[in-house]
């Protein structure tokens, strides 16, 4: 600490004091250091007080300028000190602690809504005793069509507009080829879901995209019946949507199941009364299903006389659109952060 000077300091000395104070100020990083600074510069025995005391020693004609300079330093020190960020509530009469100021911006992550829905569904089927199986996105014509009872030039191929890689390779149009791959690999009882990305060569719009995601399900064993299919999907729907959910089943057609059905789930929003989500019908079309066609079992090297099985498919996008009330399927692939952060 500077000793009180017997004579008045020069103007150069005042500049030096200001520099020293600035340096001392920038070294402060806690309340204790701040207090030391306050005592040294602003305290009763501090430098400023000494400078004021020294005014008498200043020649008359310089006294006014000297006083102004000292006052300037005083204001500067006070000002810097009062605005300092380390100042806390301890400073009586100082600025108050404000918990309303923004937080430290820790980066927040999120999981994609499609993957969240996928895993919600997956976990229900896992609990019901299903395992998970996978297959490639680039499939052969055999697995995607032939083995699923859709020979070349079968009109059912028109139901799925296909991207071809070569004459024999294509982008799978559904997750059903994984049924064949799973049956080739495993022996009954087989109980698996097969989630994955599928592709359709369709114009992109609010309703459809060139790819989407499905969860396929397969259960093959002795004595597996349509009643089991119904029971499984009812149990799934009740856990996923609402524990009083009802199902409505309509006959349909898929080449790889016989019988084939479409299953409507009672609208989870209006409980069947009819609303905007279900377009007033009270029902949501969400599932295609059926009993595995004997030719498909045969393609999987499974004896159709001994074993029966059921299969089903769910569109993940469709469920996510319904569940969150999203109006445009493209939002899922645009990945606008304002969209993603809502999930």
């Amino acid at each position: 600490m500077t000793e009180p000077s017997p004579t008045a300091p020069s103007s150069a000395r005042l500049d030096e004091i200001q520099r020293e104070a600035e340096n001392a100020f920038s070294d402060i990083n806690d309340d204790d250091a701040a207090e030391t600074f306050r005592i040294a510069y602003l305290g009763k025995k501090g430098i400023l007080r000494d400078l004021l005391k020294g005014v008498g020693a200043v020649p008359e004609d310089q006294r006014r300028a000297y006083g102004a300079r000292v006052n300037e330093l005083h204001r500067l020190f006070e000002d810097r000190f009062s605005r300092a960020p380390w100042r806390t509530v301890k400073q009586a009469g100082g600025p108050a602690f404000d918990p309303g100021l923004p937080a430290f911006p820790l980066p927040q992550g999120s999981l994609h809504p499609l993957m969240k829905i996928r895993n919600e569904m997956r976990d229900i089927f896992l609990d019901m005793g299903f395992s998970v199986a996978y297959g490639p996105d680039i499939e052969t014509d055999y697995y995607n069509f032939e083995a699923l009872n859709m020979p070349a030039f079968h009109p059912a191929r028109d139901m799925q507009d296909t991207f071809y890689i070569t004459a024999t390779h294509l982008l799978r149009t559904h997750t059903s080829p994984v049924q064949i791959r799973t049956m080739e690999r495993e022996r009954p009882p087989i109980r698996a879901i097969m989630p994955g990305r599928v592709y359709r060569n369709e114009e992109i719009s609010a309703r459809s995209y060139c790819l989407f995601h499905q969860i396929e399900g397969l259960y093959v064993d002795e004595g597996v019946s349509f009643a089991d299919l119904k029971g499984t999907l009812l149990a799934f729907s009740r856990r996923f949507f609402d524990d009083a959910t009802k199902l409505k089943i309509r006959p349909s057609f898929f080449p790889f199941t016989e019988p084939s059905v479409e299953i409507d789930v009672e609208c989870f929003l209006c409980k069947g009364k009819g609303c905007g989500i279900c377009k007033g019908s009270g029902w949501l079309e969400v599932l295609g299903a059926g009993m595995v066609h004997p030719r498909v079992l045969a393609a999987g090297n499974i004896d159709g006389e001994q074993y029966t099985g059921f299969a089903f498919g769910i569109g993940i996008e469709r469920i996510a659109l319904l569940k969150y009330g999203i109006e445009d399927i493209r939002f899922f692939y645009e990945n606008d952060v304002r969209f993603l952060r809502q999930f």
């Binding site: 960020p85 100021l101 923004p102 937080a103 430290f104 911006p105 980066p107 927040q108 992550g109 999120s110 999981l111 994609h112 499609l114 993957m115 895993n119 997956r122 896992l126 019901m128 005793g129 299903f130 395992s131 998970v132 490639p136 996105d137 680039i138 030039f153 009109p155 059912a156 139901m159 991207f163 071809y164 890689i165 114009e203 060139c210 790819l211 019946s225 349509f226 009643a227 089991d228 119904k230 029971g231 009812l234 149990a235 199902l247 089943i249 309509r250 006959p251 349909s252 057609f253 016989e258 019988p259 009993m291 066609h293 029966t308 692939y333 645009e334 990945n335 606008d336 952060v337 993603l340």
Partner: protein, 796 residues
Amino acid sequence: MKIVYSWLKDFIDTDLPVERLADALTSSGLEVASIDRRHAPEGVVIARVLETAKHPNADRLSVCKVDAGTETPLTVVCGAPNVAAGMHAPLATVGTVFGPEFTVKKSKIRGVESSGMLCSEKELGISDDHGGLMNLPADMVPGRPFSDYFPPDVVIEIELTPDRGDCLSMLGVAREVAARFGLPLKQTAKRPQENRGDPVDKAISVVIEAPERCPRYMGRLVRGVTIKPSPQWLRNRLSLAGMRPINNAVDVTNYMLLHFGQPMHAFDHARLRGRAIRVKTAGEAQGFMTLDNIERPLLADDLLIADGSRPVALAGIMGGAGSEITDATTDVFLECAFFEQTGIRKTAKRLGISTDSSYRFERGVDPGEGLVDALDTAAAMLSELAGGVVAQGTIDVYPEKRTQRTIILHPEKVARVLGVAVANDRITSFLQSLQISCPARRDGTIACTVPLFRHDLAIEEDLIEEIGRLYGYDNIPASVVTLLPLNRALPDVERTIDAVRHALAFSGLREAVTNSLTSRKKWLLVTPEKAAVPLLNPLTPDMALMRTTLVNSLLDITAYNCNRNNRNNRFFEIGKVFDLLPSGDPRERDVVALLIEGDFVHATWNNSAQPVSFYMMKGILEAFSGHLGFTRCSFCGTDEKPRYFGKEAAAVGIGEVVCGYAGMIEPEIADVFEIKTPVCYAELDITGLLATFLPVRSYKPLPRFPALERDFCFVMDEAISASDITGTISSISPLIEEVYPFDVFRGEKLGDGKKSIAFNTRFRSSEKTLSDTDVEKLCGRIVSTVAKTYKAQLRT
């Protein structure tokens, strides 16, 4: 397929409300897409326009005098461009109610009083045609209610699955309704009066040269017809079913297509050279002009109908330009055939033509009595409508008669598949309602003989489906499912992917899902060294091939967000990348990609911004590695990194199974995506990780003795990596617990190409408290080893 309710009533007596009918169709598997009630409001009458004059006060309006059956003509103001004296058009008279908001009133339009409104088809709900007034035939009587000529009707549109070709007609749908409600099906086929002096086989000869492609070909000749428009009722029915009326001969064939589901073709007999029909394949590539005047390139295998010297029709798909019915036609040869499904489909698909005819042949028509009924009825109708005489006899070339399929049904299998016991008498009554004959057999099975029009019923399961849908799937009780898992609760791949996703989300990254298809341009920009998998039939050039990396996907969505002022993006995606192996086979790899852009931590009132850097990405990857349970996580400088990285990039290795690259994106690449802020990216191949298990965590007891620390500062060549030295020091003794580089310094004093790195080193023993002497000894070894290995000097 549009079903006209009044037309359906030709086959079944029913007064079912339309909603119940629609529900029944949907629950039979014929999904109803829409119900369209077609009826003009009461008060609309037939009117004849007597004269028209320009409206005195409006350029686009006419003032018309019309005869609407009243004693004196009415004055009507009309805005339609096609209004003309002499035309017949519908008039909505004063008082006609079009809806709650619109009643036709007597009113002055621009100063001229108008007593009604002349209508377009759209205004009457007949069609979407709003181009002008509905032009009515001249034989309609002015003043008669419009509904006398256009009775109210309902059009039900159904979406048929490809297996139910038998339902592509009023008859087919009526059969379903009859089965559902136990109604009798009425016979609607007619037999023509024949001219005994004119045998058809003298007038034309038919040869099938490709019987496997055309199993049956039938024909009849109607002579002396007058080609003219069809009567109104027929025109109405065709219009309601969505077909445009053309002339009586063509309309009759179209009527048969809709009525019986049997496509037919009408030839001008006079234009069939050599009075012959040959059904043959093209034999060689050739062009053929179809009646829409488009030259179709045919292949040798395409099936043609030829006359004595040239092709006259693309069999089952479309007629040719040289033999179609014209106003001058007098003798009509009616073709009614069964073409094999796949052949028609191949040709139609290749040529990109889908006609009402090809659509039905592809799905299978009735090769039996259906053919006979359609042909006979068509001949009878044509002679009735066009005043012709039907030649004697029928051409019927049917080399190998089709027999009905018999399928043995085991009632216990019905129970096994459906999970509910259906009594035998119910099974037989369901099947009989579908015209399947099913006598019981001694062994308890049922021999089911299926009508020829049901091409979809081939095996026992098909019959079980018929039983199931008539029994009602909603009536089958759901079983109570109590399944024991066949395997562990969460399969390893799922467990690993969950861990990856959660690790990255915890680090503040947002999961993205992006398109696997990319453009040739972007592929060449980021990974020209990889052999990309191209699509044969891309939707757009932007999606011409499979992505080889996720970098362009994530840069795309980052740019998308930056353009929307969403700053400081942080994304990750788990996805597949694709390339071609040298063998030409496609290969798929699972990768995880991370991208951070702008500031990882943005500036706030009390903190400065932290822009993204390689070291931030390194921190994320180390946390990721730790979360998965790996202890090894390495970053090495490399020259062989992908070209989208700038100078600050490294090869990454995590455990033994994850590898890839991390680094700053080359600004020129970011520029192409119009991203102006710094971008850091990492892409790791996790294919190996998914094929194995996550590391098993092992527990180490916490230290019981205190640690000692020493700092070393070494001066070394720029080329030496801090991680090399930490590795070297760590391996000197198990007592060295951690080595952490805490400062890097470069300066004139050190000289060019030199740097100094300060290392904090922590020593600890698991057995005792280390003494200064213990540590000094180790310090000596550290200094000498580092000096020897790296020519690095201790800076004092």
